[in-house]
Symmetry: C2
Subunit: 194 residues, 2 copies
């Protein structure tokens, strides 16, 4: 097998480990915790189906691949819960080291390409990254809402915390933020969010 | 919420159930069984990274969405193991009913679009569907090989069965079939495939 394909296949096998990185979100039907690979799969399909609501036109293949790879660094760095303020202080350093190790398994050109996509997502500036982030927010909100806000209740999450994260959905999609806002307000009324 | 977005969100929530459909493939490191959502996520990333090996040029966003949705019908129809000859006789009828129910949750235009993509995948004629199928074969082969052929051994799978399925990878990618062929031969030599 030539060196290029060998490297590509090593990377493809390595990312299998993302299926063992569990998040704080439960599956619908009060199921088990969701893992990063499932979350990314779900986000990518949602991006494809909801693309008409992006504030700006997007290249959907770039949004999809961004969704699919955005959590790969968590293979080494672990999942940092959105409302874990302590974990968030060390998240960047942990994820930078992981990014270098994991993407270096690829041939140089693809390493550069995927790191550029990963960084673009993190920088939150392009229409594609803003829309991908909207999916990163909306997907767990949808699941949590379907479970009557169980994840918010369990972690004692406040409305300031939820809005702090979810209001950024507006940068990707005004329309999906309207939906988000309605879901949050309903969960505040029910007492699921403090 | 308007009717269109409501339908889209109902579909997005419904497909969460795909995370509970388990396959016969084990994760690398002799892990647990893999589920359909994880498998689809893995295939879509592999398609993106290995697209240079497609026999014909492909529209990669179409390949990716095809990979992501190709198993959604298994939410109702269940996973049919590639070498389960009895299950395979009823697979089409079970999957047709599931396809109609699940995609009907979407607005009409998107129902038609996703059914067309699903059918295109099943029909195995376009460059995109052939390459997506190559990923559907290569991804579990890669995992199974990493586990020293454990899934083949457990099911007592024969070389005719493995080649029967895997040789179709050639239609999508000669290059990836060369790799597949080498992996199969190594596993026959080791006694992992009868």
């Amino acid at each position: 097998m030539d060196e290029r394909l060998k490297k590509q296949m090593e990377f493809c096998l390595e990312i299998d480990k993302e299926k063992n990185v569990f998040r704080q979100t439960h599956l619908s039907g009060k199921g088990r915790f969701e893992n990063d690979a499932e979350h990314a799969w779900h986000m990518a399909i949602m991006a494809y189906l909801l693309k008409e609501y992006s504030n700006e036109p997007v290249d959907i293949s770039r949004v999809m691949i961004m969704c699919l790879i955005h959590d790969i660094v968590e293979i080494d760095a672990g999942d940092t819960y959105a409302y874990d303020s302590e974990g968030l202080t060390t998240q960047k350093a942990r994820e930078d080291a992981a990014k270098e190790r994991i993407f270096s398994l690829l041939p140089e050109d693809q390493k550069e390409e995927l790191i550029a996509l990963f960084d673009e997502f993190e920088e939150y500036k392009t229409p594609e990254s803003k829309f991908a982030h909207a999916m990163d927010n909306l997907q767990p909100l949808m699941l949590n809402n379907s479970n009557n806000g169980g994840d918010w209740i369990e972690h004692g999450v406040s409305r300031e915390q939820v809005y702090g994260r979810q209001s950024k959905t507006r940068e990707g999609s005004e329309k999906l933020f309207e939906l988000t806002d309605r879901v949050i307000k309903e969960n505040i009324e029910k007492g699921n969010i403090k």
